[in-house]
Amino acid sequence: MHETTHHHADTLKSHVEEATGVILSHCYQCGKCTAGCPLNEEMDIMPNQILRILQAEMPGYENKVLSSLSIWLCLACDTCYSRCPQEVLLSKVMDYLRQESIRQNKVNPKAKDILSFHKAFLDSIKLNGKLHEVGLTIDYKLRSLNMLQDVQLVPSMMSKGKLAIFPHQVQNTKEIAKIFKRISENKGDQQ
C-alpha cells in the first residue's frame, strides 16, 4: 500500500514498524481507539498514548511502553482497529510490545499473573498438544500463587463434566514439542 521508505534504524520504533507493518506516522492522535477501548479504565497508558510515545521517541520512551501494564491488559479485541480512521492495526503493535517486553524482561509487576497464565496455557499445549484445563489451573496456581482463586469452581466443573482429570492428548505429543523447539531456536526473528 504505502511506499514510504523506512530507515531501518535500530530503535524500538523502527522494530515495531518492521515487525508489524504498521506505519506509526499514520496515527494522527484523534484518540478514537482509546475512546472505544473496553479496558481504557484499567490502563496506565492509554492506547493512543502508547502510539504517541512511539511516534515521539523521546529519551527513555522504550521503557515507558515496554514496562507499561496496558500492553498486557490489551485483549486484542480490535475494537480500535475496526473504527480507526487511519486504519492503524494497534493490536499487532501491542502483540509485538508484549513479546519485546518479555525478551527485555521489562514485564510490569502487576502483569505477572497475566503472563503466568499465558505461559501455563502454552506449557499445557506443549505437553499435551491440547489444553488440559485442570493441568492449566494447577500450573497457573503454582506460578501465580493464587491458590484459593476459583477452587470453589473445580468440584462443580468436574461434576458438570466440564473438567477432565486426565488430559486429552494428540497422538504424537512430541510433534507439538518440536514446533515449540523449532520456533524457540529461531527466536532471532520474531515475525
Partner: protein
C-alpha cells in the same frame, strides 16, 4: 461431501454442552461431521501474546492436517479457534515468506486451502435447508444475541456482514421462534483471555453486557463462543459482587437454543451443565400447533 470438524480444547472440556448440542442438531438433520484426526490446540488467547510465530504455527498445523485429510470445509464452533484459524489463513495467504517459514516450523505443507465455517455459517449452509420440518417448538422469548469480538473483528477476518450490528445469530433465533432484541452490547468485549488471571476485569466487562441485556428485557442470552459463555455464565458470582445486584438471565449456546426448538431433550443439549439455571428458558417454550 464430508464436512471436517475442529472442536478445539474448550468443546472437549469446559464447553462440552456446545459440542453435544451441535452434534444433536446436526444428527437430527442427518448431517454428519468428521473430526480432523490428531488436531491440536490453536493457541487461543495466549500464543499471540508471547510469540507471533507460535500463534501462526499452532493453527497452521491443524489447517495442514485438514488439508491432507481432504477436507474442503471445516466447522469451527469455537469463536477463539475460528479467529486464530481465520487470521492464520489470512496471513499465510497474504504473505508467501511467512507461509514457507511456518511450514518449516510445523514440518507440514500448507497446500489445499481449507474453508473455515463458523457455527452460524454451518447452520445457514447445512441445517437451514432441512431444519423447518424438524422445528416443533417456539422458544417464545426475548433473546439477546451476543457476538463478542472474535466473530466481528478484525474486519479482514470478520464472520459477519455488519461489524457494528451483526445479525447472523439473530436470524437463527428467529427460526427458533424467539424474538431477538436490538441492544447496544452485541459486540462489546467480555474480557475473554483475562478470565482466570484478572477475574475482576472480566466481571466488570461481562457485568456491563449482562446489565445492557437486562435493561432491554432479555429473557435469555445466546452466544457462540465458549469464552463468552464461561465469562457470562460461570463468572456470575463475581459479576453479582461487581454489579451489587443479581441478574439471573440464562446463557445458551446458539446450538442449544436451536436444539430446543427442534424438540431435542434438555439434558441431551447439556442444559444441566450450566451454572445459571436454564429453567426460565425451557418454561417459555410453547409447542407449535401443527
Amino acid at each position: 461431501m464430508k464436512i471436517g470438524y475442529y472442536p478445539g480444547c474448550s468443546l472437549e472440556g469446559s464447553s462440552k454442552e456446545y459440542n453435544d448440542s451441535l452434534f444433536a442438531v446436526a444428527e437430527k438433520c442427518g448431517v454428519t461431521l468428521e473430526e480432523i484426526k490428531d488436531w491440536s490446540c490453536c493457541g487461543a488467547s495466549a500464543a499471540h501474546n508471547l510469540n507471533h510465530d507460535l500463534s501462526l504455527a499452532l493453527p497452521a498445523r491443524t489447517l495442514a492436517l485438514a488439508g491432507s485429510q481432504g477436507f474442503a470445509e471445516i466447522v469451527v464452533p469455537c469463536a477463539a479457534c475460528y479467529s486464530r484459524l481465520a487470521s492464520t489463513n489470512h496471513e499465510i495467504s497474504e504473505n508467501v515468506t511467512v507461509k514457507t517459514k511456518i511450514e518449516g516450523y510445523i514440518d507440514l505443507k500448507l497446500t489445499a486451502d481449507v474453508k473455515i465455517l463458523t457455527v452460524f455459517e454451518f447452520l445457514q449452509k447445512y441445517i437451514f435447508p432441512t431444519v423447518d420440518k424438524h422445528i416443533v417448538n417456539k422458544l417464545n422469548q426475548k433473546a439477546a444475541c451476543y457476538y463478542g469480538c472474535l466473530y466481528t473483528r478484525p474486519k479482514e477476518t470478520a464472520a459477519v456482514d455488519q461489524i457494528e450490528n451483526p445479525m447472523e445469530m439473530d436470524e437463527v433465533m428467529v427460526k427458533a421462534g424467539a424474538t431477538p432484541i436490538d441492544w447496544a452490547f452485541k459486540t462489546e468485549c467480555c474480557g475473554a483471555g483475562l478470565s482466570v488471571s484478572r477475574t475482576d476485569i472480566v466481571a466488570k466487562l461481562s457485568g456491563k453486557i449482562l446489565e445492557a441485556a437486562a435493561d432491554r428485557g432479555a429473557e435469555s442470552i445466546v452466544v457462540a463462543c465458549p469464552m463468552c459463555h464461561m465469562n457470562l455464565d460461570m463468572r456470575r458470582p463475581e459479576i453479582k459482587k461487581q454489579l451489587k445486584k443479581d441478574i439471573n438471565i440464562p446463557v445458551l449456546f446458539i446450538t442449544q437454543a436451536l436444539g430446543l426448538s427442534m424438540g431435542i431433550p434438555a439434558d441431551k443439549l447439556g442444559l444441566n451443565k450450566h451454572y445459571v439455571s436454564t429453567n426460565k428458558v425451557v418454561n417459555c417454550i410453547v409447542k407449535m400447533e401443527a
